[in-house]
């Protein structure tokens, strides 16, 4: 599948130039693209080879040298959660990603942190460990997903009535997580175990922009397997 690169358009506003330095298989990178697409913001996408990072990426993110980085009219913003709030505060059209109410905003930020610092962090442990250590990590991430599920139970979206900040941060569940567990040959997530998250995923898939941020499955499975093999041989 060819990734579209959309050149900056003048329909947004005079001299608006938006670039995203990303990586096709990164859930952090996909979040940023999803937010921009939902807001209807055209952007130029630059695919980074993480084994050979470009000078431009290092220039725009000298501290961490990581993707994603958003560059808006020459101003660089790294860190996906920081980028999401920047997008929401800069382009105030619908969908508004974070509520105006401070308490709701605090809850949304809490769950985004939980996803990144707990679920995604434990998922890395699941990917890169074996035996008892992996079993323990699988139990841990299952419990964490159960906690996350309580937040979407009875709601169409984490954001309530419409797609919002936490839905975008949770986008890793729509394609990335399913691909990963298939590549690993494990079964953490299923409709039976997580009916409410599964329902949420079905609603997400009906949104065109979410589908546009699909991580192509076969390519992703190959990528994960290659990475795991490289990790295993490096650990010997």
């Amino acid at each position: 599948m060819k990734w579209r690169t959309i050149l900056s358009s003048k329909t947004m506003g005079d001299d608006e130039e938006v670039k995203v330095f990303g990586m096709w298989a990164s859930p952090y990178s996909r979040r940023v693209e999803l937010a921009l697409k939902l807001k209807g913001i055209p952007y130029e996408y630059i695919e980074e080879d993480l084994s050979n990072k470009s000078a431009l990426l290092i220039q725009h993110n000298p501290v961490h040298q990581k993707i994603p980085v958003l560059v808006h009219n020459g101003k660089s913003i790294p860190e996906s959660l920081v980028i999401l709030e920047y997008i929401d505060e800069t382009w105030r059209n619908n969908p508004i990603l974070l509520s105006q109410d401070p308490y709701d905003r605090a809850m949304a930020r809490f769950w985004a942190k939980f996803i990144d610092e707990k679920i995604l962090s434990t998922t890395r442990k699941v990917s890169f460990t074996t035996g008892k250590e992996q079993e323990h990590a699988i139990e841990e991430v299952t419990e964490q997903l159960k906690l996350l599920e309580t937040e979407v139970k009875g709601k169409a979206y984490f954001g309530g009535e419409g797609i919002g900040y936490v839905d975008i941060v949770a986008n890793f569940l729509v394609f990335w997580f399913g691909n990963l567990q298939e590549a690993l040959g494990i079964n953490i997530f299923s409709q039976h175990k997580f009916p409410f998250i599964f329902e949420w995923i079905q609603k997400q898939l009906k949104i065109d922009m979410v589908d546009e941020c699909r991580i192509p499955k076969d390519k992703h499975l190959t990528y994960i397997q290659t990475r795991l093999a490289a990790f295993k041989s490096a650990s010997k």
Partner: protein
Amino acid sequence: MADEDVVLLDFWPSPFGMRVRIALAEKEIKYEYKEEDLRNKSDLLRKMNPIHKKIPVLIHNGKPVCESLVQVQYIDEIWPHKSPLLPTDPYQRAIARFWGDFVEKKIYGLESGKVWTTKGEEQEAAKKEFIECLKLLEGELGNKAYFGGENLGYVDVVLVPFYSWFYAYEKCGNFSIETECPKLIAWAKRCMEKDSVSKSLPDQDKIYDYVFHLKKVFGIE
């Protein structure tokens, strides 16, 4: 502010708790401080933070807010008129949030803890990285009085509690942070001239005694 009920569940040496104390003090908000015994957590803590069961927990009119960076932003948004901590411009806000996240991951993160929990090569590597991160922060501070510019801002509130732990780090790691990062220490001392900071941070000696005690409890040399 009539009808405002603010409670902070906290633990005196916690730099995360100190952030919230500073933010509330900057906003001149009266609150009830409740000291938690972390070996015997209260029912209130377990009820208000069922997911992590950790302090600090800010309870505002009965509703809990957890996670210190989330709490500081919440306090700034609920009481926006006094001492604003985040700027109004989206790009400046993004820079502040970026550096807040950097402090969280690099200064408060697990790796920096190795400065006092390890010895030998591991400790030397941890010290080196710790100082490199502090130097990056010095670079970001530049010639400003505070990270927030002329007044305390979000990054100042997020970082300065760690100053109370510096003496403990220096003793355990046998190095001088002031020698390596004089501008940062000057900044910290400037912050400590403010009541909101000095009254929220315990003495460095008390923190050192606490770290010494922790090392004994965990069998760390």
